[in-house]
């Protein structure tokens, strides 16, 4: 079959099952777009390449399958970098395809030339500069294989314009790339783990994104229920066990309920599944779970012992491990430990003041959750609103909560929500955001309007970079600087300017009714919720401190 590099690339993407691509065209990617025109793949025109990258992330995080974004050379590629780096830190499978200047012009500082390969080495799982059209036959399936194998991650494929235009004769198309076989779990490790769990008096499960990536939520619940082991979660593990589950202790770390961090402090066995001991979860590492042996299961061998030396490190898929270990466990009851955990929960619960008032942080989260229902997908930006949502939203299923954890990228929420809504058009998508974060990818409101996605942007508006303000208050002697926005945009008017329905709960007599109206309609909308600027996220572990040393609103009331 006679074809071109661009046609071949699009054909290979179709064979990977790709149905939607987010991107922005430019000079060096025009052959790709010309080929895309006659494809059944739908192109979603983002308004900034970072938006395109996060739309792809939203699709990938919501479905678990690799998603694709397109950017042109030069600024198209550099604009994608943040979304790619974000995917690397949170292990999200995306394939970013960039145009590049023609091979003969590489290295000449040509118009819109940038070393995309060099720039993406440290922020990808793997990356390619395609040097001839026939290389695409190997590279495209490989890109998808790598993105989805083991610990998932982003792959960049940089395609020079002349490679896109090159004629190529293809005899047979390669099979689509599929994940590599998972590593086998050593039987000795399973036996040892079963013994350690059986011997533990105060075991605790700490779950992370690896549980969700493995699709192991059900088996995790089985393990917890069989042996009655309490479960704490990292920020990215939320949803793997329903928030209302009696054994669920919530999020661990910097903004955990005090009872959760104290339970970790007291456990004698930490079963860490698909986590990477991030510093926001562990606090001061030397003081993390001081009395516990650790079993660490992770598909990425380099995570075992990277931060915390486990007594037993197991390289493998969390789901595979659970499959093997579950039948070996003998439903042990540890009444004193369960009583102690309950006692901690009673003594040090998470305080959520203002729960019934939609104009208060926890109220906004709580009321939105009640109105949105169980089926809603929830994205967030980064900051106070993210932590309030993580603490208080009643997550009920894996892949329901999409948030930028490792990189902590403000601007993630809106485009990720658009991506999730494209993947699941029948589900409501809530994007919790702040007035700082929303402005970082505000332009994607145009994409939301154009695609008419069912995304409700719930804007907790405090006129500040709230988490910065909070840190300046608590740790910099209330010396506030550059954390307050002196100009207050009218977000409702801005949304309407983009052709999006908007509600301003600060300008309505009945905020709750207004919120209900907003969330009961379909299609994109923005809900501006003015909240008090002095509200802080509590409790809080000061950066660098041990998780036991939490401060709360009582100690630091203004």
């Amino acid at each position: 079959m006679q074809t071109t590099g661009a046609d071949l690339l699009i054909r290979l993407l179709e064979r990977q099952g790709i149905d939607t691509i987010a991107g922005i065209p430019g000079g060096a990617s025009l052959p790709l777009y010309d080929a895309l025109r006659s494809s059944r793949i739908r192109h979603v025109l983002a308004r900034h390449e970072q938006g395109a990258g996060f739309i792809a992330q939203g699709m990938a995080r919501a479905t678990g399958r690799a998603a694709v974004c397109f950017g042109t050379s030069g600024p198209g590629a550099t604009n994608l970098l943040t979304a790619i780096a974000d995917a690397k830190l949170d292990s999200i499978p995306i394939v970013a395809i960039t145009g590049q200047v023609p091979c003969a012009m590489i290295g000449t500082d040509a118009f819109q030339e940038i070393d995309t390969y060099g720039l993406t080495v440290p922020i990808t799982k793997h990356n390619y500069l395609v040097r001839s059209a026939d290389e695409l036959l190997e590279i495209i399936p490989d890109a998808f294989r790598i993105a989805q194998s083991g610990r998932p991650g982003p792959v960049v494929v940089d395609v020079p314009k002349d490679v896109q235009q090159a004629a190529i004769d293809v005899a047979t198309l390669p099979e689509p790339g599929t994940p590599d076989p998972r590593p086998a779990i050593a039987p000795a490790d399973v036996a040892a783990a079963a013994e350690m769990i059986a011997a533990a008096e105060r075991p605790l499960l700490l779950i992370g994104a690896g549980v969700i990536a493995a699709g192991a939520s059900e088996r995790l619940r089985e393990l917890a229920e069989k042996d009655l082991i309490p479960v704490a979660s990292t920020l990215l593990g939320l949803g793997a066990l329903p928030s209302h589950h009696p054994l669920f202790l919530g999020m661990v770390g910097m903004h955990a309920a005090r009872s959760t961090n104290l339970a970790l402090e007291e456990c004698d066995l930490l079963i860490a599944l698909g986590i990477r001991f991030d510093d926001r979860a562990t606090g001061k590492v030397a003081a993390f779970c001081p009395g516990a042996k650790i079993i660490h299961v992770d598909i990425d061998a380099s995570e075992l012992g990277k931060i915390k030396q486990p007594a037993l490190g197991i390289e493998g898929d969390v789901g595979d491990w659970l499959d093997i270990v579950l039948p070996r466990l003998g439903a042990r009851r540890r009444e004193p430990w369960l009583r102690r955990v309950d006692e901690l929960r009673t003594e040090h619960p998470l305080a959520t003041p203002g729960r019934d008032d939609p104009l208060q942080p926890y109220g906004a989260v709580h009321q939105t959750a009640a109105l949105a229902g169980d089926g809603a997908i929830v994205t967030s930006d980064v900051g106070q609103h993210q932590m309030w949502a993580a603490q208080a939203f009643p997550f009920s299923s894996p892949r329901q909560w999409l948030t930028s954890g490792g990189l902590g990228t403000m601007g993630f929420g809106l485009p990720a929500a658009i991506g999730a809504a494209l993947a699941y058009p029948e589900r409501k998508v809530i994007c919790f955001t702040g007035d700082g974060s929303l402005l970082m990818n505000l332009q994607e409101l145009a994409t939301a309007a154009e695609e008419n996605v069912d995304v409700a942007v719930v804007l907790l508006n405090n006129g500040h970079l709230g988490l910065v303000r909070q840190q300046q208050q608590l740790f910099y002697g209330e010396r506030y600087h550059a954390s307050r926005f002196h100009a207050a945009p009218d977000f409702a008017a801005i949304a309407r300017g983009f052709g999006i329905e908007a509600y301003d709960l600060g300008r309505t007599a009945d905020p709750r009714a207004s919120l209900e109206r907003a969330l009961s309609r379909r299609g994109p909308c923005l809900i501006n919720i003015p909240i008090p600027a002095a509200e802080n996220v509590y409790p809080m572990v000061p950066p660098g401190a041990a998780n036991r040393d939490m401060i709360d609103g009582g100690t630091h009331a203004e």
């Binding site: 390969y117 080495v121 440290p122 793997h126 990356n127 500069l129 061998a301 380099s302 990277k306």
Partner: protein, 106 residues
């Protein structure tokens, strides 16, 4: 280059000390940036590098000298994760290559 008596060369030849790692990698432009970038990004120490194509030229062998400390195992695991790294192992027997190189280069 006036002072090129054999004794002087020996005196200048300071072969790097540390753990020697042997990597078999796919031979294409960019592999070195992946390997060296990894050391830079993760603040691992890289004392010396030797790299030569091997066999039919589709693969290369890279010899590295890294610090022998508690992070070395992490270095090896991170190297093993690189897609273009086919094989990585400790190779104390290859240390003399650096001594020989030191005599020529230093």
């Amino acid at each position: 280059m006036q002072n090129n008596a054999p004794e002087a060369l020996e005196a200048n030849a300071a072969a790097p000390s540390g753990a020697v790692l042997r990597l078999v990698v796919q031979n294409h432009p960019g592999v070195m940036s992946h390997v060296c970038g990894l050391f830079a990004r993760r603040a691992f120490n890289l004392e010396a590098i030797l790299c030569l194509p091997s066999g039919d030229g589709r693969r290369s062998v890279i010899l590295l000298v890294a610090n022998e400390d508690q992070r070395l195992e992490q270095v090896i695991r991170q190297l093993a994760k690189l897609e273009d790294v086919v094989e990585v192992r400790r190779a104390p027997e290859a240390g003399h290559a650096f001594a020989a190189a030191a005599r020529i280069v230093c």
